[in-house]
């Protein structure tokens, strides 16, 4: 069995990891052919790398696409070179012109650029954005264009409009209106950055969907103060016992006065009851008045104000901590990371 046939069998029967190894191997073989100046063989190998079945990563694809264009140009196939470069520019408009490969390649690349309208991100790196700083994305457009960026969930449903920028070449898109971090899940979640471009001149449009991961790291918050305990409060009402005691004192002394008078007075000299009952009644009435007064004014205003101040102080402290914690949560940075690109 020849080596290519064996490789084909391996590609058909092996799982994805084996496909990835095959793509890497094809890329290495292609570069060896390129280094040996066998540009037609190199172009064939790079074309196979770009085959979906090869399982190449986006970086390997971009590399293979670039080398394919250069190989075609070196092989004297300008039209194929321009087509390869167009494909490369369409998927990655941020790449610089490969001037290091000579004037011919440069000319082919420039020709390819003229025939493609594309927009895309440049070097999407991990960044921590707050609602104060915002997030910055570098984007590129092959021709002057208006680029609108959208944030969409993993299913493509738009969630937020990040704004529009006029781009010519490389431009910065600043996302200022970040969502409330509290509304985002704490774990990394998959989202999509959608770039919709329309050419400044002509009706050409392009759209690029870039997977990104958003996450919100946890933040230290101050625990809420415990509410005042029962022991911290003062009694707001006096006991009714003193008022009852006053009634008992008045009635008791009044009754004792009348009783002592009737015991002490000589019965043969006439009754003292009238005077004793009169004064004893006054004493009892005084006790009743004391009872009414004491039972009617049991609220201790000083303690009531003290307790209200205690509650207000706790509420104030609690509200302050709640506001501080909310501020901390709201100002948490949102971590934006590039997601896995699938083509």
């Amino acid at each position: 069995m020849t080596r290519p046939v064996a490789l084909a069998w391996i590609l058909l029967l092996s799982p994805a990891t084996t496909h990835a190894q095959a793509a890497e191997q094809l890329l290495t073989q292609g570069r060896q052919a390129f280094d040996n100046l066998d540009f037609e063989q190199a172009a064939r190998l790079f074309t196979r790398v770009l085959d979906v079945a090869s399982g190449a990563t986006s970086s390997e694809r971009d590399t293979a696409q670039l080398y394919l264009g250069v190989s075609y140009e070196y092989a004297g196939q300008r039209s194929n070179a321009v087509s390869a470069f167009r494909a490369l520019i369409r998927t990655n408009p941020c790449l610089p012109t490969p001037e290091q490969y000579g004037a011919g390649v440069t000319a082919a690349y420039v020709e390819a650029q003229g025939g493609v309208f594309a927009v895309g991100p440049c070097e999407l790196r991990r960044q921590e954005a707050t609602r104060e700083t915002g997030a910055v994305f570098r984007i590129a457009a092959t021709r002057p264009a208006f680029v609108r960026a959208l944030l969409a969930d993993s299913t493509g449903r738009p969630l937020a409009d990040l704004g529009e920028v006029e781009a010519s070449g490389i431009a910065q898109l600043r996302w200022t209106d970040l969502p409330d971090p509290s509304a985002l899940p704490p774990q990394r979640a998959r989202y999509q950055l959608v770039l919709r471009a329309r050419a400044a001149q002509g009706g050409e449009t392009d759209e690029r969907v870039l997977p990104i991961m958003l996450s919100v790291p946890s933040v230290d918050t101050t625990p809420l103060p415990p509410p005042p305990g029962v022991r911290d409060f003062r009694p707001e009402q006096r006991s009714i016992a003193p008022a009852v005691g006053d009634l008992a004192k008045g009635l008791g002394v009044g009754i004792v006065a009348v009783a002592a008078s009737s015991v002490l007075a000589y019965q043969t000299l006439g009754s003292e009851t009238t005077k004793a009952i009169g004064v004893g009644g006054v004493i009892s009435v005084a006790g009743f008045v004391a009872f009414i007064t004491g039972s009617g004014h049991r609220t201790i205003e000083e303690n009531r104000e003290y307790n209200a101040a205690l509650r207000r102080a706790w509420e104030s402290q609690r509200d302050s901590i709640v506001a501080t914690n909310q501020s901390r949560r709201a100002n948490r940075p949102i971590v934006i990371e590039p997601g896995e690109v699938r083509r």
Binding site: K249, V253, A257, Y266, K275, G294
Partner: protein, 215 residues
């Protein structure tokens, strides 16, 4: 030795400031005196008025009071009208917040057309005080033992008992209502009985306490 003792006692006898509280009192009332020697009951009653002063020094209070008035006798009896005068002095020491012990002497004179009858009744009293917590007033009840009374009357008193009950406001301006009943027991064959019932209303004024000097 004598000079050392004098030096040691000097702090005790030296003049030092003591917060003295003076209370002035004015009162009026109704007095009802009744007596019997086994026969008819004699009665003299009438309105009396008077005043007094109390001096509080620390825990001890000394009071001096006087009342007087015209006591009328019923016209259908042989009892004479009398001019009544009474002077009382009393020293009071609180034993505990609700209890006070007092000792004093009451001298009284009944003057009729026939003559003057003088009484001196020393007494010891125990007073229970029940201050109200909700209003500035105190109810009180006192029982007294009259010890060794003397008189120029023909009968010989061997002792007696008295009660006093009332309610009084608290300083600086206080109204009071008080009931007093006093009875005397006599020696001898004749079963003489005598008692004095009295209702007093009055006012006590306690000016702001000032430091006084006392030895």
């Amino acid at each position: 030795m004598t000079s050392r003792l004098a030096l040691a006692l000097l702090p005790l006898i030296a003049v030092r400031p003591v917060a003295a509280q003076v209370t002035l009192q004015a009162n009026a009332g109704f007095l009802d005196r009744r007596l019997s020697d086994g026969g008819a009951v004699e009665q003299q009653a009438g309105f009396i008025a008077g005043g007094g002063i109390a001096l509080g020094m620390g825990r001890v209070a000394f009071s001096l009071s006087a009342v007087g008035g015209k006591l009328r006798a019923p016209t259908d009896r042989l009892t004479e009208d009398a001019d009544y005068t009474r002077i009382a002095g009393e020293l009071t020491v609180p034993l505990a917040p609700p209890v006070a012990l007092s000792a004093g002497v009451v001298g009284s004179v009944f003057v009729t057309r026939v003559g003057a009858q003088r009484w001196i009744t020393p007494r010891v009293s125990l007073e229970l005080r029940a201050p109200f917590t909700s209003i500035p007033a105190t109810a009180y009840f006192a029982g007294s033992a009259i010890v060794g009374p003397s008189t120029n009357a023909a009968a010989s008193p061997k002792g007696g008992m008295a009660i006093r009950a009332g309610v009084a406001g608290r300083p600086p301006v206080a109204l009071f209502v008080e009931y007093q009943l006093e009875r005397l027991a006599f020696e001898g064959i004749a079963p003489r009985q005598e008692q004095r019932g009295e209702v007093l209303v009055g006012i006590r004024i306690t000016p702001r306490p000032q430091a006084s000097k006392s030895t």
